[in-house]
């Protein structure tokens, strides 16, 4: 063993170099080798699946941005160009288009799992709140991205969406006018939605995913509630458990 170690030791030099200067290797080791309850099950992979879907969206989105033209006159032709002329364009666009649906389904499934497991309870309340905000931002991504192909469905769905915001009391008309960048949907509306879709919202989502993961690692994941060996033991002795039937 020690022989092997010395034989391949030079391979570890870059890793050691990095660790000495940044401590990153230790952090990654902590992340990978941290203990989780022995009885976690398949439902608890939904969070990782959602993250994967987001990464697919981020990657394909960056690539689409290289060919897409956020301009009312050339958006539609550029989408057709991506779909029909460019090598694998249909695949990248299709993955982004359908990845959005998969991302949103997985967010809701993950949320349902957390609800079923009661995993939003003490001390994981903040994780839940960050998650709800992520769902809202994810839906906002879906809404802003829907306009970009600049076809009939896109245009009119966005009109309705903007006007829904417009019905908010007092500030509604101002929110609607801000969103469409003028009194009516105009040439600037598309680039505005494009900037929100690919710069503002993704940055917020990425930041909040970081916070979400930090909280998950800090607080640990729950055992399935029906597990006989659930970490943390049973709740039968909870004060007031018999008095209340709610929750």
């Amino acid at each position: 063993m020690s022989n092997q170690r010395s034989k391949y030791e030079h391979l570890m030099y870059p890793v050691d170099w990095l660790e000495e200067r940044s401590g990153l290797v230790g952090g990654i080791k902590y992340f990978l080798f941290r203990k989780v309850p022995g009885d976690v099950n398949w439902f608890q992979t939904l969070g990782a699946a959602t993250l994967t879907a987001f990464l697919v969206q981020a990657t394909t989105g960056v690539m689409l941005a290289m060919y897409y033209k956020p301009d009312a006159k050339s958006a539609y032709p550029s989408i057709e160009h991506i779909t029909n002329d460019l090598f694998a364009g249909w695949l990248v666009r299709g993955m982004h288009r359908w990845g959005a649906s998969v991302f949103i389904i997985l967010m809701f499934m993950h949320m349902g799992r957390v609800f079923l497991f009661g995993a939003y309870k003490y001390p994981r309340e903040l994780t839940w709140i960050v998650g709800v905000i992520l769902v809202a931002l994810g839906l906002a991504e879906g809404f802003t991205g829907y306009l970009l192909p600049w076809d009939q469905t896109a245009y009119w769905a966005t009109t309705v969406g903007i006007n829904i915001n417009g019905t908010a009391p007092f500030l509604g008309p101002f929110i609607a006018q801000f969103l469409q960048g003028g009194e009516f949907i105009n040439a600037d509306t598309l680039s505005r939605f494009y900037a929100i879709h690919m710069l503002l919202l993704p940055a917020m989502i990425a930041g909040l995913i970081g916070l979400h993961l930090y909280l998950v690692i800090r607080l640990g994941v729950t055992s399935p509630p029906w597990s006989k060996e659930a970490a943390g033991g049973s709740n039968d002795s909870e004060p007031g458990a018999d008095e209340e039937t709610h929750g």
Partner: protein, 287 residues
């Protein structure tokens, strides 16, 4: 009492930490393998959806067909829908807007509130309340109990929410408006089923009936919108009210039937109204 609960759950979380330390397993490789398999499935599904979307598009899979030298997307729907719709046209008078499928529940919510005074409930009120409730869940449900069978209220609420969201998504997806262009294609079927195919006046009337917006409120042989509660007209002719009555009624419904909310169709002119009346009188129910 509240203090007891806080002490209990803090102790329980300490217990959790030590249980995990003693009996837990490392995240890598056990859990990470499961996560990776799941992620592979996710990517696989996404690629599969993209492929099906593109390669079930009829024709040359470009989603564009030429009609008389004009590019169009008509009839290019594959298994997962069109690649693109027609280019945005802010001046259209023949397009039926629909949102992406995951907003169907919101879309249907807007259709539920069909009274002007309640519009704000569907647009802002209910969605805002739902989001606030969602955020508040950890503070509404402060017990430590996590077993589903011991949380009847939470479980029933959860099932009801999932059921109603699913129901609203389904209703949103199948919601139909009666549009002239689509209904016009049904006229030959009506003529055959109701047996007025040999009556050219009734057929012309049926075409008018299809495009004049009658079916925004009335149902005819299963088509049309029942949302607003107007009577079904499939068997209108069986009451033998006569052409004259029908024309007068169309000209001014509230003059003939007191309190009728139906708008007047006098602007169609006597000739068109007579054709409509012929059609209504010929509609004696499917034979």
């Amino acid at each position: 009492m509240a203090e007891d609960r806080r002490v209990f759950r803090e102790r329980q979380f300490k217990q959790y930490k030590s249980d995990v330390k003693k009996r837990g397993k490392p995240f890598y490789p056990y859990v990470m393998l499961h996560d990776s398999i799941m992620s592979l499935m996710v990517v696989g599904v996404i690629v599969a959806l993209a492929t099906i979307w593109k390669w079930t598009t009829p024709g040359d899979h470009t989603g564009i067909v030429m009609h008389d030298g004009v590019a169009s997307t008509e009839g290019t729907s594959g298994w997962l829908g069109k690649l693109n719709d027609d280019p945005a046209d802010p001046g259209t008078i023949s397009f039926t807007p629909r949102p992406d499928w995951y907003f169907y529940f919101l879309f249907y919510l807007l259709r539920i509130f069909k009274w002007p005074e309640s519009v704000i409930l569907g647009t802002i009120g209910i969605p805002t309340i739902c989001v606030l409730l969602l955020i508040a869940i950890p503070f509404l449900d402060t017990r430590a109990e996590r077993r589903p069978l011991h949380r009847p209220v939470a479980m029933v609420t959860g099932v009801l929410v999932i059921f109603s969201m699913g129901m609203m998504t389904y209703r949103g997806a199948t919601a139909k408006e009666s549009l002239g262009s689509e209904l016009l294609g049904k006229v030959p079927v009506w003529a055959q089923k109701e047996g007025f195919a040999t009556n050219p006046k009734a057929v012309a009337g049926a075409k008018l009936f299809a495009v004049a917006g009658c079916m925004n409120c009335h149902v005819y042989l299963g088509s049309g919108a029942s949302n607003l509660g107007a009577p079904e007209l499939t068997t209108e002719g069986a009451q033998h009210r006569g052409i004259l009555f029908q024309v007068e009624h169309l000209k001014c419904p509230s003059c003939v039937t007191k309190g009728s909310p139906m708008p007047a169709f006098a602007s169609q002119g006597q000739a068109n109204l007579t054709l409509l009346a012929e059609f209504l009188e010929a509609s004696q129910g499917p034979k």
